[in-house]
Symmetry: C2
Subunit: 330 residues, 2 copies
Amino acid sequence: MQERVTMTDVARAAGVSTATVSYVLSGKRPVAPATRTAVEAAITELGFTVNTAARSLRTGQSTLVALIVPDIANPFFAQLAAALQEELRGLGLHVIVCNTRADRREERALLAEAVQQRFAGVVITPFRLLPRDIEVLGRAGIPTVISADVPFGPVDLVTPDARTATRQALERVTAAKRRRIAMIAGPRDATGGDPRLELLRNLARQFGTSLPGDLVVRGEHTREAGAEGFARLMSRRYRPDAVFCANDMVAVGALDKANELGVGIPGEVALVGHDDASFASLVRPQLTTIRYPAEDVGRAAARLLKERLDGRSVHRTVRVKAEFLARDSA
Amino acid sequence: MQERVTMTDVARAAGVSTATVSYVLSGKRPVAPATRTAVEAAITELGFTVNTAARSLRTGQSTLVALIVPDIANPFFAQLAAALQEELRGLGLHVIVCNTRADRREERALLAEAVQQRFAGVVITPFRLLPRDIEVLGRAGIPTVISADVPFGPVDLVTPDARTATRQALERVTAAKRRRIAMIAGPRDATGGDPRLELLRNLARQFGTSLPGDLVVRGEHTREAGAEGFARLMSRRYRPDAVFCANDMVAVGALDKANELGVGIPGEVALVGHDDASFASLVRPQLTTIRYPAEDVGRAAARLLKERLDGRSVHRTVRVKAEFLARDSA
């Protein structure tokens, strides 16, 4: 390793105080543009990295925060990662993204890695993990935030409040006289069941309808599973006239299949996604979806992590409001 | 940490040989379905992870392979990451994705992290790094693969062969009597210049046309920069009738702006992307693009890494063939 350049070296080279260097790095206070440029030039010239500062947060620990997700190909998680990184940069922490492919063995192996590498923090969207699997992180003293639809043991949680948005989606669909509501839900063995399905089912009753068993199909949270699920629904004797999807990846798969089968969206079947992933407005028809703002989730997770690093010990839950986005598919 | 479960423990619990356990893990030889199920059940029950095996590859080293990319929101890199992970899983290695936002300071900080954490390998698409920045990895003995359009010092390289595909794109565009060819290229300070622009410029001459200076605009490899670049091109006195883009993110941004300005694609302007990112076939019109197959790039990078882990010391370059995909936008 090369010798470490310190913040004092940077301050001296730029002709400013170390406090000013710190403000430039953290963004916590405004710095005059000329001063900022001088500091950034010194940082580049000297090859300064903020690792030293971050390391002192938790001696001997890495500056890496692992974001462990079930599907790296889902842009929702890329957006979440970017927001998390943005918030943690001022602390000299780096976000790395780990893909579990919704596989419990992979999920557990990555938790073991996080412990062995003494990561500075873990943000995880569990898919098949059990709450007890997470305990290794707590025992190792690694700050942990769960991003999930349901609580996951005694640990910090960022979770959606999607009740109002789901009700609005049902309002729109039933106002168009659709009554045969279906869902392409997640797999039966996902941890915590399928809260999006349960919420939809509960609310559907208030609209005088229901989701009968044969209108609920299950699969992974992927485009392929969405196509397959939609095909199965279309083979039912009583075809649904509205299909809710576990997320937007699934909804895009359903759209693929609808095009293939010549099923009109939204003419014959209204389609509702979940998340508002980046491509939701790119597809045609544009996806009507229940927006779960990835940036807000990332920022909330970062705040919870920071509080842990600052010594907070009680567990907190942050609810992030979902929002119904009526576009063209429903 | 919990006590480590070994492969022998798994073999005993499943009633098979350790070689069979190893085949199930690596996928190197076929295993009867019933045997595979028994082994997988034992693995899950005992909570076995393959870290132990992978660690012995390079004693004291992490099982993490870092994929360092300029833009995690670009699905090209998610596809690359998934293919890399698929190939390396058999070795008990985990791929983590690190986002540099095309920022040289971030790129360097992540290289420093890779060294400090003793990563098992690094695959990197540099954006503003200089070849000498990479040398820290070599000094630390960390197997490194560069994925880039140009060589990057004495190190393993995966690089596109896009000459034929670019020529085919130009053929299609000029056959439609388009002569005012433009490009939304990368930023001027990107490492290695802009090989995609140079290739296009060289080939354009063979078609009796050229890319005049005012028809080359520059920006980051993002959707926002694509929109901005397209707007600038449309404000030229002699508007282009064909626009090539640095990648598909840029092309989608150009499409956004074309819709906003009411510019017909491909009627008024033909639009050609690069990469065939997952959304290229989702947008309307579907994106005509020069496909650079992310899966092949990931697999090639994995092979080069494996050979390094096995002791190969000479540098290798693998060229991955790009392919012209004529869809609807050009």
